[in-house]
Amino acid sequence: MPKRFTARLISLLAVSIFAPLLAPAQNLPRQPGAVYDFDRPDEKPGPAPKRDLSGVWEPAKGPGAAIQGKGALSMTSCEYKVPGVPYTGYAYDAKAPVPDCLQPKQLPPYTALGRKTLLAHIPTEGYRMVASALTNDPVPACNPQGFPRIVLHDFRTSRIIQTPENVVILYEFNKKWRVIWTDGRELPKNPQEPTWGTPDPPESRWWGYSVGRWADDYTFVADSTGFDDRTWLDNAGLPHSDALRVEERYHRLDAVHLEMTVTIDDPKMYTKPWVALDKLRLRLQPASLDIPEEECAPLETEEYNSQFAKPAARSAKVK
């Protein structure tokens, strides 16, 4: 019996015998009303429209397909290739099999300051995670996630609006938005420099300053700078400084797909630029899709912290 046939036979048997275990897969996170690539496996998308990013976009392989808690670099071109089991991003249980590409062996090129700053960050996710009550991550206390963390952790349903002057991205988490200017203006050259006119004062920003351009008819490139260095790059605590520059590259693949790549350039924290998000495939959603709200509300987080997070961390043998 050919080995390949035997392998397929045994695999099929395994799927049949353990099919009930797949039942929870029906409860995979998915945005109600959204369409994913696994919903339309035989689809043949039409050609990409020129210079058009507009619409509601969602990770094409499901809500978990973007970077998750293990942090930037953890999902680079990584997927489970098992028929019937949608890619879900990462394995939540440390004992579960973790594909090599999810292991934290791909580390960004830290400088000495970068490594020191990383170690000062105490995250609730990634390979250095602690109980949530013991973290110094600013986000669980409802501080701004900021850019680029909004796209380097669990990128979610987002709406892109194009106008003659700018590209506006509306993000799901905390209903945040960014403006990427396409009117020809340049990025501020340093934080002390006056910004883009009154009423804006010269200041660093949680969300930075962004300008964009079409590199070709299907590729839009945005550059951002002027960041507040109190934000983290991701949920695993990767650091950045006020010298951070971010390049976003949006490549329109076809009528329903857009690919997003994010490159980090921060000479204070990293010895060279590195790709933090590598070709995340997004899928155009029905125009009618209503993006639900997910708001970090201190009223709710305080109740959660007092009832669960703090008592769960007591006695502190939780690492």
Partner: protein, 127 residues
């Protein structure tokens, strides 16, 4: 044959692989793999971020009441599983299967729950 068995092992492993929680924290608090099933009476269902959580009172073997707090995923991650703001109300008798925390407190994360109607629901925290 060895390759065939390896393939089968990988398929099996992926069938039982965890479902992502899409939550705001990892596993540090939890006694991974441990299971506790508790019957109790709902006191509150918080449909909230960063986590929904259910509180309920259960009788311990000694007869005393134990107040449990069990978290689960945020609303956006469990709506597809059929949960809503109105899934539980105070006074509901429920049976909760949970993964407890490491420190012995009556805290955990909800894996499955059987509602008063007998309907079983899973949260997606499967490991």
């Amino acid at each position: 044959m060895r390759k065939a068995l390896t393939t089968a092992a990988i398929v099996f492993a992926l069938l039982i692989v965890s479902i992502p929680a899409l939550a705001h924290h990892g596993n540090a608090e939890f006694d991974i793999g441990k299971r506790v099933t508790v019957k109790g009476t709902v006191t509150k269902w918080s449909w909230s971020n960063p986590h929904c959580f259910l509180t309920f009172d259960a009788k311990a073997e000694s007869g005393s009441l134990v107040h449990w707090v069990v978290e689960t995923q945020p609303p956006r991650s469990i709506t597809a599983g059929g949960f809503s703001q109105f899934t539980f109300k105070p006074g509901d008798e429920v049976t909760v299967t949970l993964e407890p925390v490491k420190n012995g407190q009556p805290l955990g994360r909800m894996l499955e729950v059987v509602l008063p109607s007998g309907k079983k629901m899973v949260t997606g925290h499967i490991d």
